[in-house]
Chain length 317, copies 2
Amino acid sequence: MSKMILAFAGGVGGAKLALGLARVLAPEQLTLVVNTGDDFEHLGLHISPDLDTVMYTLAGLANPETGWGQADETWNFLEAVGKLGGETWFRLGDRDLATHVERTRRLRVGESLSQITRDFCQRLDVSAEIIPMSDDPVRTIVHTDEGALPFQEYFVHRRCEPRVRDFEFLGVTSARPHPLLLERLAVAEALIYCPSNPYVSLAPILALPGLRTLIDSRRRAGLPVVAVSPIVGGQALKGPAAKMMRELGLESTAVALAEHYTGTIDGLIIDRADADSASRIESLGLKTLVTDTIMSTEADKIRLAGKSVAFALSFVV
Amino acid sequence: MSKMILAFAGGVGGAKLALGLARVLAPEQLTLVVNTGDDFEHLGLHISPDLDTVMYTLAGLANPETGWGQADETWNFLEAVGKLGGETWFRLGDRDLATHVERTRRLRVGESLSQITRDFCQRLDVSAEIIPMSDDPVRTIVHTDEGALPFQEYFVHRRCEPRVRDFEFLGVTSARPHPLLLERLAVAEALIYCPSNPYVSLAPILALPGLRTLIDSRRRAGLPVVAVSPIVGGQALKGPAAKMMRELGLESTAVALAEHYTGTIDGLIIDRADADSASRIESLGLKTLVTDTIMSTEADKIRLAGKSVAFALSFVV
């Protein structure tokens, strides 16, 4: 039987590697577990930004300029909402809106987020398995110097301007990891952390009750866990990861990221720009793979995905 | 003090005369009471088709081709809903959708339909007063040879094909006429029934508890009530009124319409095409005004509105 890879992802960066993984692995070889900590209610609609970014990317619908939302999008809904005095800070395109309206309708009649996601993926010809980390609500709160902000309020409305102090995942202690996540983890032959924000994309997943313990126990039994660094040359390619690290009193470097993951992963893939950090990272007890991690083209994504899988499986004895 | 006119309206035909009335009367001289019997929930959204048609028409946003929806509309939302397996038979344009999403959100947080309508009108620079007939839900059911159908199911999904047997206004016995409707009725100097469907646009309003009694008592005290016929030359200009009349065993004529209203109105405005029915209608005890009732241009609407007001006020002794 062929190797089964489990990958954890957040939004734009995670979706890029997810697309690469979906191109190099057969559908039955890949399960993508997506952060739902940045889900929120807006205009009365349930919005799952990370799930949508991963789904749109794999469906070939994603906007290549922004990474989020759909390509060839129009904005007439949002313009009309503004005229009616409604909130327009969260950019909901006309096509994108269909996902939120139809998902909200189905959630209200009792379907689960994962059922709806599976059905949407099927209709959009996405064959890789995408599962929300949990069907129970988890809401990321960013504690800042201006107080506690719901994630999208911090991320989109305030453009990550307030200084970060801490993170909180509301509801996570009573959220159950999705049963399929547990099933796949039990049989996976490698676990890959996509190049997603460690604090607000991957941490909510890893905060699910029992999940770290399960991963640790699988690691001790030989499951390799590797991460792809979202930090390149001291900067996050997308999003506030580097800014957050600095505000938390850390260096925004691949080394600091390695320290963050030390003891929980086996290998870290870093960019060539950070090649001179490799030995310091190795001294933390992590293997490194130095390669090009900037995924501009689809070929970049496929190449990095292939390298990630090979790197992860190289730990299997 | 200037004359205050109260007008009852349904959808497209009613909205046309409503626009004319709003052009010939000052904002404080006009209150438009709009049918909500064809409101429904669709894709999890509260939709008020008649209210929207009247509001869009007065705001200059209406689609001049269809009469419903907005001009320069795009359909990307609906196309995307279809791809996700959602229902697409009710045509929700991208701009139009903003009204439904924002209204649904506000209803869910406890605002009333009339508050939301008033606020939307203010933001869209509609200065005439538009009030839903009630803030309580009333739902028109069309009993047909294929069973009972919710109004939009009959009207849009089934394109009025099933044969009509009877109508029912679910919830109407416990619905309260909007307080402003009662206030305006108490001081109005004329009541005009716009050229709307008598069975599914005006009947739900008139079925509100106590309203007919109040109107009758005001009529006895001298309030003139006039209707503009939606039947022209045996046909409804828009919608299923004529077809319904035939299926109910009536002739689809201005005379049959006059018979429908006999005893409840003072005058009926009919089209020149029906001029030879005037004497038969007069013999029923109704005054008639024969004029051009087809409202293609804005000038047509203004002219017919002016004639309607003058005709109504001519009854004031």
